[in-house]
Symmetry: C2
């Protein structure tokens, strides 16, 4: 029986790879995924065969991985960050039942998602309850996103935003801040990290009012504090409890 490993490789570079992810890449006969991530994995295993496809061809990629495994080869489907958080594990597992279980086994290999790696760069923004929300409305109606932002603000969660912008969605972060400002103070401690763990990494702490005016790109992960989040020694820190 052959395997499809869905492998989260972390934010980029071999430093964030778990031992389990490394082993999965090693055991694969072919590395498959979005071009940029496959190239990152290939840095570790330069002799591996690869099958890279452009963005937004996810289902095609999953089908290819399952077909290749059913023909007797191990495949690693390479994901940035974690395998499951907005990753390829979902579409792969949705397609998997079309292939006989005796031929193909799927193993999901978790990785350090941007919420965790970005948080570490800023300090400890995720020290208490938090939400992760993607602002991409490619596959999700904006009304659903808006409802979630509203609920996250009312619940006083720390909020981590993925896909805060794109070419077609230049004003989404501003719209998001306007929604959050209905329930949250403009002084709420926020932060962003760009190109986590890669060349050109940058980060900034700022208030929610300032975030509303900020220009970020699609390689940025945004953090919005809860009412207890503070700036301490230049870092964004959410205390673990309400005692202090």
């Amino acid at each position: 029986m052959s395997k499809v490993f869905v492998v989260g490789i972390g934010p980029g570079g071999p430093d964030f790879l778990t031992a389990q992810a490394r082993t999965a890449l090693e055991r694969a006969d072919v590395l498959c995924g979005y071009t940029v991530y496959v190239e990152l994995a290939q840095e570790l295993f330069p002799d591996k065969e690869t099958y890279a496809t452009p963005m937004r061809r996810e289902l095609e990629r999953c089908r290819w991985a399952l077909e290749t495994a059913s023909q007797g080869r191990n495949v690693a489907l390479v994901c940035s960050g974690d395998a499951g958080v907005y990753g390829m594990a979902s579409p792969l597992l949705e397609l998997a039942p079309e292939f006989p279980e005796v031929e193909v086994e799927v193993e999901v290999v978790p990785g350090v998602t941007a919420a965790l790696s970005g948080a570490a760069r800023l300090g400890a923004p995720l020290g208490h309850d938090f939400c992760v929300i993607s602002l991409s409305d490619l596959l999700t109606p904006w009304e659903v996103i808006e409802k979630r932002l509203t609920c996250a603000a009312e619940g006083d969660f720390v909020i981590c935003l993925y896909n805060p912008t794109s070419k077609k969605r230049v004003d989404y972060l501003r719209r998001t801040c306007d929604i959050l400002l209905r329930a949250k103070s403009p002084e709420t401690v926020c932060g962003w990290v760009r190109n986590i763990g890669r060349e050109g990494e940058r980060s900034r702490l700022l208030t929610l009012a300032q975030l509303r005016e900020e220009q970020v790109d699609m390689f940025t992960t945004v953090f919005i504090g809860s009412s207890t989040t503070q700036t301490i020694g230049g870092r964004m820190v959410t205390p673990r409890g309400y005692e202090t």
Copy 2:
């Protein structure tokens, strides 16, 4: 200048450790933390000096780490899962300003938190927007937890519960399910994983109605699906979008 590394080692065992975490443990002169986690880290580096303290002595442990670093030694503060998610990064960064910056530098090293490692075991429950909520009311008033559960349910988030129970809080998961059932269907797909990545790992998929009757322990991480979460081929899968 000496360093305090706050290191997330993942759910247990060397398999989930990132290369960055391994390097941090290697560079440390002493491994510090809750006994169980220090022992896990020590399996990798059996010759390292250790300083282990029981549960709930977190502040003492942080102070010890900072003092030891200010005396010229590198310390790794070992956390299960991630360093920041309900981890030691927050209390450490809260105390750090008491120590001169020229003497002590804090580096937060992220790790695979139970939401990610547990999700991988169940399939892909975190394929779309999600919340992480701790049911521990040691440091958080129950009213805050209840409010967050209500908001998470109303926002139709996937919900991942940490600390679902303890000796003093035997009925908290049941109370939680009752709150969620006000907004969510009793047929909502749920799952739990116990002892993730350790000996005696177990998991189960079940409905929210069944989860209400379930006995779980404090080593269990619980997942409650959104309205789109499905059981596919025996796995818990939340599609990445609303197109399917």
